[in-house]
């Protein structure tokens, strides 16, 4: 996977490039908007991470220009501007996700992964989701594990669906809050953890192989061990 990082803060860019490289990505770095736009049009990247405020050409303009050129590469916007409005502006300009500085590295990695996968997902989403012996029928609203029916509340169902669609990916608490509840703020408490532990009770308690895993310092992941 080849990523382009457009970030003018050399120090931060250095850390990010190292972290992304360690996570297995190949990363190009551009230090300003013009350079970033040049890189993005020259090469076909799998994803772009763009800072919003850049010298010469700001991040939103870079994205707008790319989108006008028909470039569909997923873009994650990084910004020190974090209000609801700023977020909406970023997404309207053509960004696919928006992350406010400062952020946890795990949050960035989880979102990049989600973004890159989203780029590959078939247009019609799967209606029957399967993981090991767990089966979810999205249309019939049923979940079974090893043939046994598992009763979930509507929210728990949505939560599990969100996780199953990202099997093998780290999903952070804020991603869950945004994706499952459509709430874009930091709840400041462990509300999500409580919901996850309930879901876990329902899905994993009576079985030997747990499917829902906690990723320390980052969030959650469903996968077969």
């Amino acid at each position: 996977m080849h990523l382009l990082l457009i970030e003018d803060d050399r120090d931060a860019a250095g850390y990010l490039v190292r972290a992304l490289t360690e996570a297995g990505y190949q990363v190009d770095h551009a230090a300003d908007g013009r350079d970033g736009l040049f890189h993005a049009t020259e090469r076909d990247y799998d994803g772009i991470i763009a800072d919003r405020m850049l010298p010469h050409l700001d991040g939103l303009t870079v994205i707008e220009v790319l989108r006008k050129q028909g470039n569909r590469t997923p873009v994650l916007i990084l910004s020190a501007l974090g209000s609801v409005d700023h977020r909406v502006e970023g997404l309207r300009a053509g960004g696919d996700d928006y992350l406010t500085k400062p952020f946890a590295l795990s949050e960035l990695l989880a979102r990049i992964e989600a973004l890159l996968r989203r780029g590959q997902v078939a247009p019609a989403p799967e209606m029957k989701l399967r993981l090991a012996d767990l089966e979810m029928d999205v249309l019939a609203r049923t979940v079974t594990r090893a043939g046994r029916r598992i009763d979930l509340t509507a929210r728990e169902f949505k939560l599990l669906e969100y996780l199953l669609r990202r099997t093998g990916q780290v999903v952070t608490r804020t991603m869950l809050l945004e994706g499952v509840w459509d709430l874009h703020f930091d709840p400041q408490t462990n509300v999500i953890d409580v919901h996850m532990s309930r879901l876990r009770q329902a899905v994993d308690r009576d079985f030997d192989r747990p499917l829902i895993h906690t990723v320390r310092g980052a969030g959650y992941m469903v996968r077969v061990d």
Binding site: G82, D85, L183, F185, T189, V191
Partner: protein, 450 residues
Amino acid sequence: MRTSALRLSVVYAAIFAAALLALVFVIYLLTARFIDAEVDTAIERDAAGFVEAYSRGGVRTLADELNLRVANWGRSNAVYLLSDEQGFVLAGNLPAWPTMRVEDGAWVDFEILVQESGFETERSIRAMVLEPAPDLRLLVGTDLSERRALGRRFAVAAGVGSLLVTMLALWIGYRQSQRILARVADVSRSCAEILGGNLSRRLPVAGVEDEFDTLAVEVNALLARLARTTEILRASLHSAAHDLRSPMHRMRLRMERALADPVAGASRDTVEVTLQDLDHMQRVLTALLQIAEAESGAVGARPEAVAMDVLLAELVELYQPQAEQQDIALQVSAGSGHQVMGHRQLLAQALANLIDNALKFTPAGGRVQISSGVESGRLVLTVADTGPGIPAGDRVRAVEPFVRLSDTPSREGAGLGLSLAAAVARLHGGSLRLQDNQPGLLVTLDLPLV
């Protein structure tokens, strides 16, 4: 400014004076013409009398009549002269035929010199010349001097009157412009003072409810709005400094310790605690920015209709598992179909803060009761907990922007949460009130419905 106002009043006074003079002149002309006509009519009537006297008794009767009139002053300022065709004077009060200045048919105008109390004065005469018989010439006229004098007096009176009125107009205009200038100067002085840094200064309102007062009231409202925004900015800076200093202080101490003793200081624990402090700082900063944004009304997103009952149900559902985990009964009784024009994310954040706050301070076994309903066209939403509550003296302050409850460290963080909820309420045209739940805290959020 001063000179332009004065110039304006002078110009108006001049226009006024010119109009006044034109009026007086027209009146004078009309009056003069009327008097001239009167004079001519009197002369014609007089002359007709003489012609009748001649036809009655010839020259003798005519001369007698003439002399009688002269003696008795039959008509004031009358001038008579009867002569033969050679100009020999037969009767009348003129010594000889005068030199005519104007001759217009029978009508003539001339001047004569008269001895009057030792002075020789010139008099203007208007007269009619008749020939009652071929050998007779009769002049019947009127001395116009008195009329002329009247005209002069009239002109003088009109002139003086006009001058007085013009001066009065000038004076009133000047005074009036001075009065307006004084009020403008008041405003300008107040503005200078405000610019000078006295932000609490307001424009003077005279209380006469004129345009100046209306303007002053509007400008004052604008100033109040600006002052409030400035105050919020100041308070947010102050509050940010206060809230960020403690974790920064801790981080600094830890980092210095790590430098001095890399083995013990830079342990994994130290790094984790530092990250927690950073997270805390970030949360504080985010909350402060949100409050500042909501308080200043600088939320750009267009408001949309938000179904508050749905939103409330979602948030209660979000917090329900946590309440159960804390052994707190989270109960809701809400009406349905309540829509508020606003910003969903901000309203959600406000509700989340209220619920979160209630759960945070309610002991195990306690209860958090949420209810919503409509009261006189407004959505009234209450969150009642059975926690320690907030002392009465602190309640009003607690919902003001950026006010921290100084004596209750256990409520740390609650201040910002409630402040943000209050700011969001105000942004939506509503309010947030804190009351005693006996025991606990009763928070009432009211919002205007769509």
